[in-house]
């Protein structure tokens, strides 16, 4: 059983085995956040390392103001955002002007092969989405954070989080309807 308080105290005292336990506990969470936000996953492992090094360095300032998972997810989210900004892949993070106008474009014929696998197809669609939609889908469905926790992680108001999540799911559902119709035919 993973005891947050005990593990954090041991890490602060210098116990690296406790830190290894923490990494094992949260590496999937960090990996999911990072890989969903990055189009290019080659750097994902290095960025995950960077996240955990930041966790280790700043653990003394954690203070149990929130859940440890929320705090770590926040570090992962902001590290990914800084990376994307540094490589000029995004500019306005929270309220981009054209987010409401986002629609999926028609696929190339070659990519229709992916449609045979529903999971692969959904993942391909998610990859094409703006980073804000991808983040909300990952944090809510994959990492199972609540709206309030997502607000803490991203700094976006709960209303914005709900709005992004609603729109992202609706876009995916519309594509899924066409996919299921074609599958039946």
């Amino acid at each position: 059983m993973f005891n947050e308080n005990e593990v954090v105290s041991r890490i602060i005292e210098g116990d690296l085995r406790a830190f290894e336990q923490l990494v094992k506990q949260y590496q999937k969470l960090v990996f999911h956040v990072i890989t969903r936000m990055m189009a290019d996953t080659e750097d994902a492992k290095d960025i995950c390392q960077e996240v955990f090094i930041k966790v280790y360095t700043n653990l003394k300032s954690f203070g149990f103001q929130s859940k440890l998972s929320t705090w770590i997810a926040r570090i992962a989210y902001h590290t990914a955002i800084n990376y994307l900004k540094k490589h000029k892949k995004i500019t306005n993070v929270q309220y981009p002007d054209d987010l409401d106008q986002f629609h999926f474009t028609d696929e190339n014929p070659e990519k229709t092969l992916i449609k045979k696998d529903l999971s692969a197809y959904i993942n391909q669609l998610i990859e094409k989405m703006p980073v804000q939609y991808k983040t909300m889908l990952t944090l809510y469905h994959l990492n199972e954070f609540s709206y309030q926790e997502i607000e803490e992680i991203t700094g976006m108001p709960e209303g914005t989080v709900k709005s992004y999540l609603y729109r992202a799911r609706r876009l995916l559902k519309d594509k899924l309807e066409v996919y299921l119709k074609n599958e039946i035919l």
Binding site: L16, F19, E20, V23, Q27, K28, C48, L137, Y166, R170
Partner: protein, 136 residues
Amino acid sequence: MKELKDKKIQEMLEKGLLAPDAEMISEDKDFKTYQLLFDELKKEPATDLPYNFSAMLTAQIQAKKDTIINLQSFLLAALVAFAFIIVFYISLSIVNYNYASSLITILFKYKLIFVFVLISFLIIQYLDQKLVKPKL
């Protein structure tokens, strides 16, 4: 109208189906599509970090800590050596001032050689830390 329906379905799936209209709604095509979507969104991706990621990361942090400790030990040793030289010179001056003065004169005469030896020693130590010790 459609937007309100979509919102309602999404909210129902977030909270779980609620009676009394649960059975009626669950047969709805849009609801079934959303349900399928929600199930797919929960599935973890196929890719993952290497199985020894946590061990590698911990070893990396340990190596950095060891480097800092080694550097601190080295600086302490340098400080102690320097203090020893000062104490030695003061003691020698008390015993035989002329001999101590001659020693200082020789040191200053060959100062560049001593500085070269010291810098070479420091470079070798640095390269040993960076290149010879295995990277983890």
